[in-house]
Amino acid sequence: MDFDPTEDQRLLGDSVARLLASEYSFEQRKSLLGTPTGWSERLWSHYAELGLLGLPISEEHGGFGGGPVDVMLLMQAFGRHLVLEPYLATVVLGGTALRLAGNAAQQGEVLPAIAEGSLKLAFAHGERQARYDLSDVRTTATRRGDGFVLEGAKSVVLHGDCADRLVVSARTAGREDEPEGISLFLVDAAAPGVARRGYALRDGTRAAEISLSGVALPREALLGPPDAGLPIVERVVEAGIAATAAEVIGAMEAMQAMTLDYLKTRQQFGRPIGDNQALQHRAAEMLVALEQGRSMAMLATMSLEEEDAAERARAVSMAKVGVGQAGRFVSQNAVQLHGGIGMTEEYAVGHFFRRVMVIEHLFGDTATHLDRLADQVA
């Protein structure tokens, strides 16, 4: 039991904090939002130079060899600044899929390219009808000759518009929402038959609708065992939950700090509004929620290396619920305590609010995960 970061983690954290402090002010971020891609290639290179893109990638593949705690600390810092780059999509989701399911050739090709910043991935799993059911995959991969042909569509693929390669789930067997029969494929985003339509999510991060018609794949595109891709999808999603939980902690910290600052400086009826005890108590309740949420983000992180799948899933669901509820409470009250200004695009708190809102609706929302926990009560 040790809650302190290691020396390495502290150093990394410091350099990230410095970088973001100088490159990720609210105004700088706003101008990124206005660009066509919605994020910065230049900063992406910076991240590569700092070793961030290879953080959880083994040293053998040109990475830093870090673990979930390192990613947690980084995502928390990203959350404080609402970083827009496709780190979650490429390093966390795509990278986890490759690390778990890739064979030596695939890993050797992709992971170093991620680490050096020359390759971006997206995790093209969700479909329009699936909502949060991970096994609801209707995209098909039909064997043709030695390879496969993909038919179908993927929806709300995070940073799917800018990815170079896509990790695509498709049915090689089984009924529409059966757990068995799902396989993963590594697909070139520029392959014939892949059409992408990008857009922003409500928080300004990018996503895409991807249609796949007659996409021909060689046998080597198969990522992991055929028909047994769901457990990998689940672990990728768990990694995504842990990473975004940390991001929410960072966002909550930022909102809490902004709110305290506002309470102390905003004057009304001749005194700071923070003199109102009712608002003070609300701020204290936000702190309680933030600390409880922080504990749950840690739980998600430390569970990622748990081998027992049921226990891991349970801990991650608990964290999704805890962080989801904390995030909702803190962000709603941060806006409320700011009053009118908190409702405007020109003020940062609303941007944090929306990031937390979007994250809550990724990877299964609070109700969905609470439900999974309820199923297991005994």
């Binding site: 329009r128 059911d133 409500r202 009118g340």
Partner: protein, 401 residues
Amino acid sequence: MDLRFTPEESAFREEVRTFIRDNLPREIHERMRLGYPPRKQDTIAWQRILNAQGWAGYNWPKEHGGPGWSPIQRMIFLEENLSAPAPELLSFNITMLGPVLIQFGTEAQKKRFLPRAANLDDWWCQGFSEPGAGSDLASLRTAAKRDGDHYVVNGQKIWTSTAHNADWCFCLVRTDPTAKKRQEGISFLLIDLRTPGIEVRPIISIDGSHHLNEVFFTDVRVPVENLVGEENRGWSVAKYLLGNERTGIARLGKSKERVRFAKEVAREVRKEGRPLIEDRGFRARVAQLEVDMKALEITQLRVVSAYAKAGGNRPDPLSSVLKIKGTELLQASSELVMDVGGPQAMPVWQQELAALANEPAIGPDWAPQMAPNYLMLRAASIYGGTNEIQKNILNKAVLGL
């Protein structure tokens, strides 16, 4: 004591419901059902239809063109209109300016402005808030200096909802900067927004929409005939306006409509292979909202009924209960809708732009407005006196704390 609607009241509800069903343009209705806010032309079109029916000035006395309804009828009308869903009457025209002119206006002002306000020939907005003067209205600083037959206005207003659509603005301005009390020396002015020296700058809200504005006044000349009430006594006009009948403050019809919509979409959306509407957790959440809405419906009837009994001349402080619970339910119901949408509710689908570009729409048609509605309604507990201020009001006016 009889807690049921009278046959007359039920018949009235039926009459209103039928009229809306038969007269609300289908396109407007469909857009609103999907959660889109009414466009400027939608609000104007519908208010003119209601005005032709004699219902636009629903809370005005008969002699000024109102339908002469009881408070219960007014409540029924507002609820049916919201729950249709149909565009709301422009409150600046109907519940704010109208009653103020009727109470304080000159005959000339009434004649000139009331019919046009009812018919939305003039779109009004409200110039009260200023930077640094949110809830603390009396600290406003926009100055109006008398110069012959005119006031010369200089200053800035903020949070001016729909100013970019508006033709006119009713403003609070400081006409006597030397007044001892801060509430004194304030006047209530009607300002034509086409007057030179006025600049309207948009404030974009977190849902991406443009409702709010800053309005800058630089040497704006306003004829003295546009003063409402006495000079330097504008505070009492404003108090009258703010303290006006608050029927409909709960906006319960909107919450009902949102829950209905959530259930509708939940029939299409699936969870673990079955329609979401069959999910236990979803059902429990809906049931809880329906309980709370039912309670608020009756509470609202009680408040309105007491208001009517008391002669309707001052708002019941319990209307703060309506505001608190009403906004909580608006927020909870919009949250429910968004949660039903799930990941599909998160993209900025830009359906309309897509339509213009002749590209196929992306995303289900029910999805685009789910998050914006949720986001926009976070303001419901802020505007019109935050819910924290409503609790202060209850403490002072009801509990004596």
